[in-house]
Symmetry: C2
Subunit: 98 residues, 2 copies
Amino acid sequence: MGFRHVVLFKWKSDSTSEQRDAAIEALRQWGRDAEQYGALTFGTDAGLAEGNWDTAVVVDLPDRDAYLAYAADERHQKMIAEYIRPILAERAAVQHET
Amino acid sequence: MGFRHVVLFKWKSDSTSEQRDAAIEALRQWGRDAEQYGALTFGTDAGLAEGNWDTAVVVDLPDRDAYLAYAADERHQKMIAEYIRPILAERAAVQHET
């Protein structure tokens, strides 16, 4: 049994490619910082389907408590506030046991 | 390098628990049928965060072509038409290289 956090982002249509690139780079850095909690995988949509969102993040953690610690981490909150939220049009998330 | 398909569902607020359970069971069956393409993991939201969606599906495939075959599979299309679409309020998806 483990615990998985899945989140999808759709960026604002008026966000710049520099802002999007910076968000991806911030996610990359956060993935390294978050290794203490679990394994973070993310990626940018490959453009195969109409209506897709922009970016997916999947985090595999040992348990629910590790997720709560991951979510509350100050570096995580700072990354979201600085790089994600300013260009965020929509966010959808599910956390579930695996 | 591999390829990941991430999809989140939000069910209609007037869907019944029987319909939702049937959709989850259909996803479970489809996960077994889809083993020829890759590894499918899914789960129902644990209820830790306000505003979360209901169900997450993550499929890890060897490459983009395997995803296209997975997506087009007739059993997949039938499962979506019979169990997912009737109770679907919102869907968000991203496919990306890993």
